[in-house]
Point group: C2
Chain length 219, copies 2
DNA sequence: ACCTGAATGCGAACAGTGTACGCATAGAGC
DNA sequence: GCTCTATGCGTACACTGTTCGCATTCAGGT
């Protein structure tokens, strides 16, 4: 028997005039464009459809759900995670790759909200995960230790990003700033002692924190 | 001139028969009950209203926004964060408090999704933060180091919780499990080497990871 | 050249969401 | 008893995700 799907290039159906055909990739790209322009909250099926100059119902021919659309966008972003990075030792590569991943995700923090909504793994993130795990193994860690260490690093990165970069544009003045300004130094002396500096430059503090955590595992 | 607000116990207005009056606290409590029963996605103004046996419009007399309702719930949960914990050294107390906070938040992971949406600080979380920062200072860290260390610990905790505990109930079978089962060992050997164990008992791995991170700062 | 079948686009409709408007009500102070 | 004000709440509007059914267009068979 021959192959069951000789030519999947079927493509009949309603005319789209000059406009390019719809497809999962095109829809995901449009969704990503939309989010980067107006934010994740504005990612409605109708808005994505408008971005492609079509109607919402048309999207459902290529995407089963809104959830599926979000997954497609997640994969799109995950494909950009760094894998090959400079560094001669495994530890150096780990440090560089994790910092690079942090900086990359910092430009797309909103996908983290897609990621953490469901029990989901981006297939396009596997090369990144594999490289990190491999470096931990090469550094001499046992498999279980490597998994723990990679998990900790990843959690540190996404925790920092999610905590520091708000998803919704804050209403002015920020609730955070109001609360912080009202802190009574006699009730919370430690916070007051620290308050003045945590607004200023964290600088590349994230990189050094990652370095410290790596050191804790690769001792 | 006398005080402008002599008796804030006004309370006129529409009758609520035998039902207790509406208030921010009552609304927040009802919202929290609702989330713990049916999940954060079901927390609509109408559902909260129904929980209080009233109409959605009534809530807006006490709560300006849905956002404000979420903040009230956040404060409610934050009030339960651990502050006093056993331990004779600052390091021991830090370890115990962070682990206790992790375990507490693990029972209310959904509030983290409220927390990370906006640039927000829960006032009721200040005692917890202050205690942690104070212990870092007592352990000999400089203020900037203490802030960095506490931030790292907190990010590690919420990163782990957000990454491991999905907000939405997964559809069966899990997308994660599908992807993980399809991993080609020749393409991703490190993941394959680790895959078999990361499903099994992490046990209290979180506590040891926190301990490692603490050690990295309190060396 | 005709028909058939399937894949695609899309207008209309439905239930559910957050929120604003306006009216009815009940108590406090004169 | 009047007025004033805070409260409850019915109604309505714009918006959401999703489904149904119809129209269109092509590929393959005869």
């Amino acid at each position: 028997m021959s192959t069951v799907t000789p030519l999947p290039r079927t493509q009949h159906g309603g005319a789209r005039d000059g406009r390019p055909e719809l497809s999962v990739a095109a829809i995901a790209a449009a969704g990503r464009r939309l989010v980067e322009r107006v934010g994740l909250d504005a990612l409605s099926m109708r808005n994505v459809a408008a971005e492609l100059d079509t109607a919402a119902a048309s999207l459902y021919r290529h995407v089963v759900d809104r959830e599926a659309l979000l997954l497609a966008i997640l994969e799109d972003i995950a494909a950009g995670l760094p894998v090959e990075v400079p560094g001669r030792t495994a530890c150096e590569r780990l440090q560089n790759r994790l910092v690079a991943a942090h900086d990359y995700m910092a430009r797309h923090v909103w996908v983290l909200h897609i990621l953490i909504r469901g029990e989901v793994v981006a297939e396009n993130a596997l090369p990144f995960s594999n490289a990190c795990l491999q470096d931990f193994l090469d550094a001499g860690l046992a498999p279980r230790e490597a998994a723990t260490a990679f998990g900790a690093c990843w959690h540190l990165v996404i925790g920092e990003l999610l905590d520091e970069h708000p998803l919704a544009p804050p209403r002015e003045p920020t609730q955070r700033s109001i609360v912080m300004s009202r802190i009574a130094p006699e009730r919370f002396p430690a916070i007051a002692a620290v308050r003045s500096l945590d607004l200023h430059d964290r600088g590349d503090g994230t990189a050094t924190v990652i370095g410290r955590l790596l050191g804790a595992f690769l001792s």
